[in-house]
Amino acid sequence: MSLFAASRLSYVASGSALVEDASFALEAGTLTALIGPNGAGKTTMLRLALGLLEASAGSAQIRGRNIAAMRPIERARLLAYLPQQRPLVWPQPVRDIVALGRFAYGGGPSHLSSGDADAVTRAIASCDLEGFEERAADTLSGGELSRVHLARALAAETPVVIADEPVAALDPRYAHEILRLFKCASGEGRALLTVLHDLPLTARYADRIIWMSKGRVIADGTPNETLTPDRLREVFGIEACIDVDGTGSVSIDILGPSAEDG
């Protein structure tokens, strides 16, 4: 049985289906990328999977339990979420932001049990944030800040972590750093699902790719199996050369938009 399984999730808003009949599974120890063009329904599907949005049909289960039936606190102990919008209002110190990751266990900036404090320390260490603990959030660079948000999500030490565009607006170095941290977290036996827009990055780091187009999951498999010129043309409307080397790693070279042939 998969650690996490979504079956036939649908979401209809004001008459139009944003997500339709989407099924996928996440396995422990894998990094899964969710890709698809803007407006394909990726964020909606993540929110359905997390139970933050009530599905019109279908269900999501973690360790065989229905997520929609769980209390928010129970759910938060199994699933961590890193949303696309990560507004910070107050210039809080890094450690306090990461400490909020322990919310579901009753922890917070001002009260951490020794177990909570250890989890916060581990999360800070795993995101290379030692020495930043007392830095105010508004003094950090974009790359540092995204590591802080990741550390916050990891601090809950959940078996499943779901992230929405964690590397948007990051320069290549920071983007690779964040994906390495993801890879590392999945190496510890967690299942990670992340929306990505950078195809070369996806090809390089993802163990599996879920392809989404117009509210539907249209393919699901390893980069090797699913990353094909035909699919890129179908989903994104781009032409690309794809090369698989002897070790099975996939490289991708995007040529440009496909010709409009109706």
């Binding site: 997390l50 606190i73 759910r75 979420y81 209002v89 579901a104 001002s110 508004d138 916050r152």
Partner: protein, 325 residues
């Protein structure tokens, strides 16, 4: 209780004692203390128990309710400029309260005035929160508050326009300006249950405010029940602000100044902000009321006027130097 809260509580007690000493007739400390213990002359006891103590306690209660409501609303709406006065909550509560005066309900219906003020505050908080949660824009939120304030002020002006006699007009002006002069222990007891209930609701929901610092989406992901959290803060802030307005009329800016001063001292943690904000709000208003009483003006200045004279420039200063979006 944190060291900060303890420090502020001691400061508040000292300020209240100081407020008993000062006034048109200064009383020395030993006479105040023996009056408090019912050991002094009838005149001294009257001054301390019936005039100065209710007045200072009213200022403290109003300051505490507004300080905590401000801190909680700022946490919920993630906006350091949110405050009952700015958002039009106080003005709407004052309007509802004035209606009971205008229609002469205060004498016939017990609790009419505090209930009306609380109802007005709840309606306004609901409107503002609903709008705020829809738009997510700081500027829109403030503008809606300004609109609500203006609308309530316009209806208030209409009431005054239609006031049947100069006495009820004077009554309404008092509500608009805000004062704790001539408050009795009975007035205090009428408003206190609402204020305390509101503050209690806010206090028990403080933990969710910490999570909201990261945005609603993240907070929901962290396991916070957003609907429950919003309702609790709206209810708590509405009760507390309504009670404050019932007791003293509309007094602005306490709810913005007190949390702003305390915030860096609690590492910007919204869950730890509530109690010190309440204590500092109380302390500031008792101090301001002492100022009102000892200033040698021909007519006593209204507390709400002084609060706005001090608070409005601070509001502009906070708005001008915000660090994060």
């Amino acid at each position: 209780m944190s060291r900060l809260s303890l420090f502020l509580a001691l400061g508040l007690i000292a300020t209240i004692v100081l407020s008993l000493l000062l006034g048109s007739v200064p009383l020395p400390l030993d006479r105040v203390l023996s009056a408090l213990a019912f050991q002094a002359s009838v005149g001294d006891q009257l001054v301390v128990w019936d005039i100065r103590l209710p007045r200072s306690l009213a200022a403290a209660l109003v300051g505490a309710a507004l300080g905590m409501s401000g801190a909680a609303l700022q946490g919920l709406l993630r906006n350091p400029l949110a405050e009952p006065g700015i958002l039009g909550v106080s003005a709407t509560a004052a309007l509802f309260a004035s209606c009971t005066l205008y229609f002469g309900l205060t004498s016939s219906v017990p609790f009419a005035l505090p209930l009306a003020a609380v109802a007005g505050a709840l309606v306004a908080t609901l409107v503002v929160a609903a709008a705020a949660l829809r738009t997510q824009s700081v500027v829109t939120l403030i503008l809606i508050g300004v609109g609500l304030s203006s609308f309530s002020a316009a209806l208030m002006a209409l009431l005054m326009n239609l006031a049947p006699n100069p006495f009820s007009l004077a009554d309404m002006v008092n509500w608009m300006l805000g004062t704790v002069a001539n408050r009795s222990m009975e007035d205090l007891l009428l408003a206190a249950p609402f204020a305390l209930a509101g503050m209690m609701v806010l206090f028990v929901s403080r933990r969710g405010l910490a999570a909201l610092a990261l945005g609603e989406e993240t907070a929901a992901g962290l396991g916070l029940d957003l609907t429950k959290q919003r309702l609790a803060i709206i209810l708590g802030a509405g009760l507390a602000t309504g009670a404050a307005v019932a007791l003293a009329g509309a007094i602005g800016f306490v709810g913005i100044v007190a949390p702003h001063l305390v915030r860096p001292l609690v590492r910007y943690d919204a869950s730890r902000l509530l109690v010190p904000s309440a204590l500092l709000g109380a302390l500031l208003l008792v101090l301001a009321d002492i100022g009102v009483r000892v200033l040698p003006t021909d007519f006593e200045m209204k507390l709400g006027v002084v609060a706005s004279l001090i608070g409005a420039p601070i509001f502009i200063w906070i708005a001008a130097r915000r660090r994060l979006a």
